[in-house]
């Protein structure tokens, strides 16, 4: 899932300083699961923001909250569209995709981010999320025993480990596990250590953050003439 964490109350308050009626919009998908932008968190931030505005002498600003199932899909934004007209700004508590989906849907309304989108990751323990995928567009997990050298190795090495691996820890941070130690241990357990003897080819970064926003098109699913709503 996409993992995010919240911006501070003063930062959000400063972003909306030119507005009188503000709607905080939560998202019921990834950011609800990572406890950053779901219904409860938006309620907490809404309450905090109203108090902060009042203390700043702007108690007349209206701050309301609502949460939709998924901000990154236009069909779900339909549920918000009627209500949004009552406000002059929106703060999205979705990931960066959610913020931009709202901005595209409401071209005349300022949309601000309430969260800092961090990474694609998993729940490691209660309240702890860890990055697992860099969305490089060219998955090679099959070569590395299912452990990604881009996200798990601090140096993104495809032919590791480096000399900074000590007792399974990374020289960058003693609390950080060496990604290549993890790859080696898992490959050994799977009996595929010989796979690591081959020199891994350079990565094709052209499928990553290169050449503008990436797009996935499934021709068989496309319906001619039906694009995104205006």
């Amino acid at each position: 899932m996409i993992v995010a964490d919240r911006k501070s109350v003063p930062e959000i308050r400063d972003m909306i300083q030119d507005h009188q009626r503000v709607l905080l919009v939560g998202c019921g998908t990834c950011v609800t699961v990572c406890l950053a932008g779901g219904e409860r968190e938006v309620g907490i931030l809404g309450s905090a923001l109203r108090m902060s505005l009042k203390l700043a002498g702007r108690g007349d600003v209206v701050v309301d909250e609502c949460t939709i199932e998924r901000q990154c899909e236009d069909a779900f934004i339909d549920l918000l569209a009627q209500r949004a007209g009552d406000y002059d700004a929106v703060v999205s508590f979705g990931c960066g995709a959610g913020v931009q989906a709202l901005a595209e849907r409401f071209p005349n309304m300022p949309v601000y981010p309430g969260l800092n989108t961090q990474f694609i990751g998993i729940l490691e323990a209660q309240g702890v999320w860890t990055e697992k995928c860099a969305a490089c567009g060219q998955c090679r997990l099959g070569e590395f025993a299912g452990i990604c050298p881009i996200t798990r190795c601090a140096k993104h090495l495809f032919n590791g480990p480096c000399g900074g691996s000590r007792d399974g820890k990374c020289e960058v941070n003693e609390d950080l596990e060496c990604g290549w130690q993890l790859i080696y241990d898992r490959a050994k357990a799977l009996g595929i250590l010989e796979k690591l003897e081959a020199i891994a080819a350079p990565h094709d970064w052209s499928t990553g953050l290169d050449g503008g926003p990436r797009k996935v098109v499934r021709e068989d699913q496309c319906i001619a003439g039906l694009g995104p709503k205006a």
Binding site: R40, M51, S52, L55
Partner: protein, 160 residues
């Protein structure tokens, strides 16, 4: 009345609420500006309950749970402490003094301790002064009563 701080005390049914009852039975004196709101466990507390109280104008909030290791639900009071810490962080960001909120641990046998906690908090809030978010005292009182009634209704299973 308007110079007395209004304190909302979220009390665990198994300890602090019984301790408050005991303090009454023992005829102990403590400030009458505390409003006790019973929870089935302090693990029921959410950050938004605390913020909602401050938003409605209370001057201070007490969260009172069982002694550590003595929670009826094993770890509700430990979770509550972490949520209180998060709420204190948010209060700082908002611009309110985090000292207006504190978590205490006590057993149901500690009526005197309950009286002491309320007295201590009341003194601290008198020094800090009224909450800058406070509307008129009657409105605060109404808000607190509403919250208490809602909580009691939820406990009785009447909540929709």
């Amino acid at each position: 009345m308007d110079k007395q701080p209004v304190i909302l005390a979220f009390c665990c049914h198994y300890c602090a609420y019984a301790a408050a009852d005991l303090a009454g039975s023992m005829r102990l004196q403590y400030p009458d500006n505390v409003r006790v709101l019973r929870l089935p466990c302090t693990g029921k507390i959410e950050v938004n309950y605390i913020l909602a109280a401050f938003e409605r104008g209370v001057d201070g909030v007490i969260v009172a749970g069982c002694l550590e290791g003595g929670c009826h639900f094993l770890e509700g009071n430990l979770r509550a402490r972490k949520r209180v810490e998060r709420a204190q962080q948010l209060l700082t960001e908002i611009g309110l003094e985090p000292e207006r909120l504190e978590m205490f641990n006590l057993s149901s046998a500690e009526g005197a301790r309950f009286a002491e906690i309320v007295t201590q908090m009341s003194r601290r809030l008198a020094q800090l002064g009224p909450s800058p978010l406070r509307p008129d005292p009657e409105t605060v009182e109404q808000h607190v009563q509403q919250m208490t009634q809602q909580a009691e209704a939820a406990l009785a299973g009447d909540a929709k």
